[in-house]
Amino acid sequence: MAEKVLMKGNEAIAEAALRAGCRHYFGYPITPQTELTAYMAKRLPKMGGVFLQAESEIAAINMVYGVASTGKRVMTSSSSPGISLKQEGISYIAGADLPALIINVQRGGPGLGGIQPSQSDYFQATKGGGHGDYHLIVLTPSSVQEMADLTALAFDLGDKYRMPAMILADGTLGQTMEPVVLPEEHVNVVEKPWAVTGTKMAREHNVVNSLYLVPEILEKTNNDRFERYKYIEEHEVRYESYMMDDADYCIVAFGIAARVSRNAVTALRKKGIRAGMIRPITVWPFPKKVIREAADHVKAFVSVELSMGQMIEDVKLAEECIRPVYLCQRSGGIIPSPQEVTELVEKLEGGAE
């Protein structure tokens, strides 16, 4: 087995990206993801790669768009306010069917918000984010190991489906250091005949574009894209089911909230309360099916979030109003404690609600 090393989550993403063949990075400083940018600044120039600190997040995402047009692996990273600025470019990247990786190490909002961890960009990440009908593949690591593994996966999925992918992390995971087995160097080669590389006078010109002034053509483009999304929803859902076999209560949580919830499940089981957890690893596509199936045997769902309650809407849609769905949340950069989750479930078990 490969060697375990200690790394911060932010650094694990950067190293995994390099090992996935990403040689182009464009960023702009923002807390709490700066280690990632710094890692790339240090490593890329020595590998013959491109590191560029852009004049703004807007410029950075458009540089990403430029590299993505040429068919090469490329990424940017930021935190919530910076991700808002990138939304214009992300919409264009999605509209031009380009693969690219965007990292969001979330912090509290809205506005300038705070710099402590948050999951309050869930809507923005999973429902599109910018203008127009589109999705990103959104992966939510809950450990430093997954920060690395899902980064490699995100590049592969982006290439496979010609669409932007996002790692939706948070400040805690970015800052936490844990042992990690780094993914092997791998560059899966996907043919990109659509890329602009110069015609070499040997083919018709390629055009990377998201403008379709004829409504019927734009509609068809959208329909085709959504056919692809449908396939992704059927084939690329990822989640972890934890102690769900006999569970009466299903906690749904991702990222750092899932780490907290795992402790809560353990504590509840010790008290004889049958709790389990479904941890979405992809939040788009959302693991609807497994949540719908859980609704047949659990008494209630609890959505645990570092927001005012965003994923809970997807949980409710997925379980089709068969069971009540409760919310356990903190915001502003505060992480719900395992006790807060435990107490809520205990109250449900006691029939208080």
């Binding site: 807390t31 805690t172 250091m177 750092i256 795992r262």
Partner: protein, 179 residues
């Protein structure tokens, strides 16, 4: 040992994060599960700093520590802030050069160590953190006392390789001191 949650708190410049990193690498080399989480933000620039280190034989749930088993308080504000969060039966290490008061609770084990003074006497005034770490290793078997220098080598950058010995000396002094 199942899971041990250690909170190291002090002010910026006391090497709180460094001490935590050392413990993290030591645990890694002993093939234990671990997580290390620093406080981050404006307080990194001179205010209070703390880091959460969890060491475990089993996979770790949350890396966030709300109720530590072990608290190392390097200054008074840290003791004030975290004293009551320590689990009953837990352990508090108090840096007693800077903290003049005693711990108010009687349901925890307390060690008072004038680590800053000891470090100064060693000629390494910046290494009170490592003196405290030595004491921790002595009193709480979270990591072993063997091969300390291997873990140190991971956290002391090669640029500062000349500081390896003094770090080791600080840990050993903390380890052997009575108090």
């Amino acid at each position: 040992m199942a899971v041990t949650q250690i909170l190291i708190a002090g002010f910026g410049g006391q090497g709180v994060l460094f001490a935590g990193k050392f413990l993290a690498y030591k645990a890694l080399m002993e093939e234990k599960q671990l997580s290390w989480l620093p406080s981050y933000g404006p307080e990194m620039r001179g205010g209070t700093a703390n880091c959460s280190v969890t060491i475990s034989d089993e996979p770790i749930g949350s890396p966030i520590i709300t109720n530590p088993d072990i608290l190392i308080a390097m200054n008074l504000p840290s003791l004030e802030k975290f004293e009551n969060t320590v689990v009953p039966g837990g352990v508090i290490f108090v840096e007693s050069t800077l903290i003049e008061r005693k711990v108010k609770r009687d349901d925890v084990t307390v060690y008072y160590l004038p680590a800053t003074k000891i470090a100064q006497e060693l000629g390494a005034p910046g290494l009170a953190n490592m003196v405290m770490t030595g004491k921790l290793i002595r009193e709480c078997p979270v990591v072993s006392h063997d091969h300390l220098e291997d873990a140190l080598r991971k956290v002391v950058s090669s640029r500062h390789a000349d500081l390896l010995d003094i770090n080791l000396k600080a840990i050993e002094t903390g380890y052997s001191v009575n108090g």
